[in-house]
Symmetry: D3
């Protein structure tokens, strides 16, 4: 029987109280850790069954966030691979695996910051979209290392996450200019490098990210500005290797406008879009900088080929 921590975490993810791909993954791992610690299972099989059930509950809370199943997979695969059949050992393995996931996740952002920062130079004009911890880590690390550049931030309708980014960068002292999303091509002729985060990276290197990202990538390509995606490796999406499409969530129309004021007008609010790999120059991961075509290499190292896995 799943314990309170799991249900509580699932609820918070579902209601978006916990949000952001990294935070969701870490919360799931933490919930599994709590579940393992408080489990009353008497044997290894029972514990595994309990944690698998907990994993299913957590995953169902927000099915499109790939960091969520990846966190669960990370912990459970460690248990399934455990040679010991002693319940105490298994519990310990679960706790350790969950801790390791959290630790990896936290250090991955920092490592991306270090690696990505090398790609920026004095005098660069940078553009970013929406709000991404990994992007901020890259820009902050570069700035603190003494590089001097300026950053354009889109307001990122409909939820204005660009406002958050603008403030965070300004607090670092980085010169920031904010524009509406429609002004991207207007200023792109002055931009050297675009950097965005990602919610998910598909096997072909496509990046799923906040609505508007794909058209910014296209505009960057037209102007031959470089386009970077910063993404921790647990955002890579193994099922896409097997043909699954990443689903694009459409959210509440009221984020865009009050439908009551627009009689006869439908309002659509797609939350993400897919940037094709040919518009991405590099993906900055904590493992190194890769071209988008190497995304499949990252996925394969973690999950193997389709045929070797009967379970999917």
């Amino acid at each position: 029987m799943p314990i309170e921590a799991v249900l509580d975490t699932a609820q918070k993810i579902s209601s978006m109280e916990i949000r952001g791909a990294g935070k969701i993954g870490r919360a799931a791992a933490a919930a599994l850790k709590a579940a393992a610690e408080k489990s009353k299972a008497r044997d290894a099989n029972a514990l595994l069954t309990e944690l698998e059930e907990a994993g299913r509950i957590l995953i169902a809370a927000r099915p499109t966030a790939v960091s969520l199943p990846n966190a669960v997979r990370f912990v459970l695969s460690r248990l399934r691979a455990a040679t010991s059949q002693e319940v105490g050992e298994l519990r310990k393995a679960a706790v350790e695996a969950a801790g390791e996931f959290v630790q990896n996740s936290l250090s991955a952002v920092e490592r991306i910051g270090e690696i990505g920062a090398k790609r920026f130079s004095d005098g660069d004009v940078v553009l970013t979209h929406c709000n991404s911890m990994a992007v901020n880590a890259v820009l902050r690390t570069a700035w603190r290392s003494g590089k001097r550049f300026e950053v354009y931030v889109t307001e990122s309708r409909p939820r204005y996450q660009g406002h958050i980014t603008a403030r965070q960068l300004a607090e670092e002292g980085i010169p920031v200019t904010m524009i509406v999303d429609s002004a991207v091509r207007y200023i792109m002729k002055d931009v050297d490098k675009v950097i965005v985060g990602a919610d998910s990276i598909a096997a072909n290197g496509a990046a799923v990210n906040k609505i508007g990202t794909a058209q910014i990538a296209l505009i960057a390509r037209e102007a031959r500005a470089l386009f970077f995606v910063a993404a921790e490796s647990y955002k890579f999406h193994p099922e896409t290797l097997l043909g699954s499409l990443v689903e694009i969530e459409e959210r509440d129309a009221r984020e865009v406008a009050d439908p009551g004021e627009f009689e006869g007008v439908k309002i659509r609010n797609p939350a993400f879009d897919v940037t094709p790999p040919e518009y991405i120059d590099l993906i900055i991961t904590e493992k190194g900088i890769i071209p988008p075509q190497a995304a499949i290499m990252v996925i394969r190292e973690e999950f193997g080929w389709a045929l070797s896995s009967n379970r999917r």
Copy 2:
């Protein structure tokens, strides 16, 4: 000495009480008409001098709206070409020319509606941006002729003119869907035709229009959706033939966000952008449908080559 009507009109254009390229042009013509009617000039030369002064005042009210100098030029060139040197005749010519400009302008939009409507078919998915009388005329004429299509409208930040367009089309009964400006590429795969208005058409066929237009044109080109510009011929910009660049107005940052809430953040608000001719399939004018490369033909017919005009 310029009469009240001229000063009053100039003030209203300057303060944007009168706005929209067509309305501005018609208001300028009307002001010249009033100036001619009420002039106390005793001979032709004096009248011409007065009206030239009135023209200068009007043009200075909003220098980047090309319909404004075009209206003035239309009236004054008629006077300069007049063979009679009798002041009454000249006054009559001015009044008639001004009336003709207003009439032409009013009928041009209607005619664009008729011509452009032929380019739309049952089942079309259309996208438009901002709010344009000429575009609405096209879509309305097509709809009333029995064609059945649907229209996507961008909200058109920062001033949300897309809200107006959405309501106007919905009132006609046209199925309308509104999206944020960032969602254009997301829905472009379903779009057959994009149609926008223009504030100015340059000699090379480039279209100056509301910020965001150029990136929509790029996105349409990527998806091979057709991209139409609807523009009356008095929006064609003769000075560009002689090398002048169309200036892009940057407006008040407060249209984008309250600067007080964004310490250390600069906010830029460019109001227009320039869509290059290679992204435009057709320009729909009241004279017919032309490829953007024929813009220079329209300009030349109205204003001749550079060398034939000593005055510029």
Copy 3:
């Protein structure tokens, strides 16, 4: 009351006994000539009315062949412009105009041959599609002037008009190689120049021609082979200036395969496609070689702007 010659010609055009854009136009002119000669009209107005009725009948015989209304328009506009109101004079004018159209049409192909031939050089590898009198004139003139090149001919499914072209060029002694339509990209890397005819040229320079032409143009562009269209000026389509789309005829499925052998399978047989102007390097007309963007110049010289014509 229309005389027999008109009805007879209309029937032959309708049944495709008379076909090919040039032949159709000349037949229509000849029918109008006969109608004028045999008319019993007693005054100019009556004669004009009769010929206008004859024109309507002819045009209705195959509405999409632009050479047909252009031939009729050529003759009738001459009558309408005639200053004399004497019926004999008018009859003579009609006969002369019709003869002139036929003569122009015949010499246009020859002139295109002379002009176009200059664009071919020793060693050229040429590709053509379908069967065009104008293209053959170009290649024949170049060959007879002593230039030595070779030609690839597509078979041009479904009606195999490429078979005719292959034989016609081989009779001249030109080295010809025939391929299936699917092999165009395979051999394009060796091709220097593609030349095709056209059924119609739109105001934006797009060429309507035999199905398959547009993809050959795309393949040529990819390989940076030059793409020429040979078209007499009466194939330019004035209504497209006013927004009309050139309709694409879909023909009988039995040209493709016997539907009886394909239960549950639909067969579509579009006869033409539209090559966009950006894939056309030059249009060879009897007036000279023009870039596709100058198509509108040709149309305007013949038909003027939309506004100057109240009749449409």
Copy 4:
């Protein structure tokens, strides 16, 4: 001395009685199996020598079908790697390896069907070319899973394999429309996804397939329709890693037209063309979906780098 089964199979492959990349590979494996079973070799070395000779004979039967050497390589590499030097053990290993190849091949198509089917959605308009078991598996699996889409099939001159595909899909109940090969661009604006098979995949991800495939890929790219290749992993071509070019077979001109009717006309009939990787979105293999740039990864896992193999 090679036994009858080997000679017989080689003859059937050579005469194209056995054809299709999958069938050829399986037939070669079966022949090796028979050769191993009936061998009278007294020691391991003799058996290996016999089977290597059989392999050479089989490969020579149709050198360009990469599934053929791949099947032989699969069986022989197993024998060479065998640690036992006992002839009975080796025979058993050969029989098992051959059986495994056949089994893998049969299940690969089915697996591709499952994986690929996930990429199709309700409402999709699909285009395919020629006739491919793997493509049919994908479309059939998608259709049987309840997805509802329609398919365009090219007739695929000169041998009209599209007729077979059209009938096979129609038998499933899938709505099928057949067109001539020249009409691909005409209908591409309505197509969402193109899927074709392959005879060979090169190390750089290029796909060798039926003539016409490469231009369809180009047309799809122009319209931004997705382009998928379905290919079992034994169609990947290891020698291309070492620089070999995939040779393109030119077949009998009589498949195109009767040369006797075309005096002075040469007829060429290339059977395949090469689609460059930049026009391929995804390759669907039984191991998963990969971008074309990962083809080298598949090849390397099977065959290793050039340096590690002294034998080639």
Copy 5:
């Protein structure tokens, strides 16, 4: 019998003592003027015949310089159009026409300077290639009007005309940086605008200019830098309208390297290349700024359509 001035000028053009398209044209006009002044012809016909012969001699001196036949054509067409048949009148007309050509040519460069200068702004980074009077006029006028920009100059192998340009601009005080021709793409990311001259403009808007120009245009397009061509209207090439190709002169190998030091090595030295119109944003003429597609308009205004000219 042609007088000395004609033979002398022809010789100097032929030996390249007189070079540069403008200078050649003006020298030819001056020679015709001298020929008219010193002619002993007793009647109009004789004078015309003499001057036509002089024209032929001049044109033959360097057939590919279009300014040369254009200068001759300018003068002779004026004579042919003259209504008077009196020899004194005709002589006077010839002298005036020649003077007018020279005057027009001299003022055209200045006028191009004025018009083109408007297209440059403070902060621009400009690139130019080879050495062009018109380009220098543009940059000089812009600089003297107070605009502050910097210019990259290629060395322009094999004859290093870039050295001349670099010195000329540096003398004006313009900041100049010189690079090898191979470094163009390296610095293009910093360049806003490229401006070059032209030896000839074809009817389709293609520009014939110093070898290397076409690849600079391609590199500019890739980086979306603007590409301008500055060309007086007498450099527009009327024969290209009728199909003629502009011939590309290949010059002495010794300009590239000493062939004696390169046994077995062929050295080619093409002097010009052709920049296609799709890589040219604007052509700056003394008549105004035109898109390359309007080149045909300029040619037609000067020379009419092919059909109206029986002489060619």
Copy 6:
């Protein structure tokens, strides 16, 4: 204390007496070998410390040549991995590793020649730039195997290394034509394949090579000529995986022109440029032919992911 051989080699590399990526790497390995042989270290640790110091000195001699640190890394990593702690064993390991690096390097070029030669065919027109041992090996091997093709060589300003290449190929009997760097686009329409060497290959497959390479790649892409890079695997740059940018050396202006003759003119002389992977068809390494996107695979096999190595 570093011995003489190390200091001497470092000095020769620094002064460019030793140059060329392969030669530099081999010289560094040889210097380490000498250092190991002559070391007086008494224990393993002391020897390792000495050789690490020698490595640092060598690397500092020319930091941007990636073959230099790669050679040092190759030798030192072998020592660090050595299990024995006996100084004699370690010395022997160092000597062997250095010898192996030299041997690998020498055979890599030969192997690239063999592999790359397969990609060339009779009748090919080839272009190369600058002077590369690997390219010469490919062309020489192809020529000696009986293939007959011709080669264009750019002169490769500013140092004219193309002169060397032209002579070397001519000595083989290969037909060679030399052109200025500006003539590349002019002759590209006749070129089938471009092949160049590389100084460094980045993790994303970009090739750093002699200035001018990147624009040749762009021109090849425009004309759809194939673009090959020949590069030994020790030219792959592991640090780029971790974000480092390859620095582009700018060399002495006097290589371009005598600054004394150009008052007020700055001369820039960038020595290399970066060809983006999308313009590279294949990289020919001694391990096989790879698409540029597989460069990361080569790097990873040699150096592993970032996270697994704490030392960098």
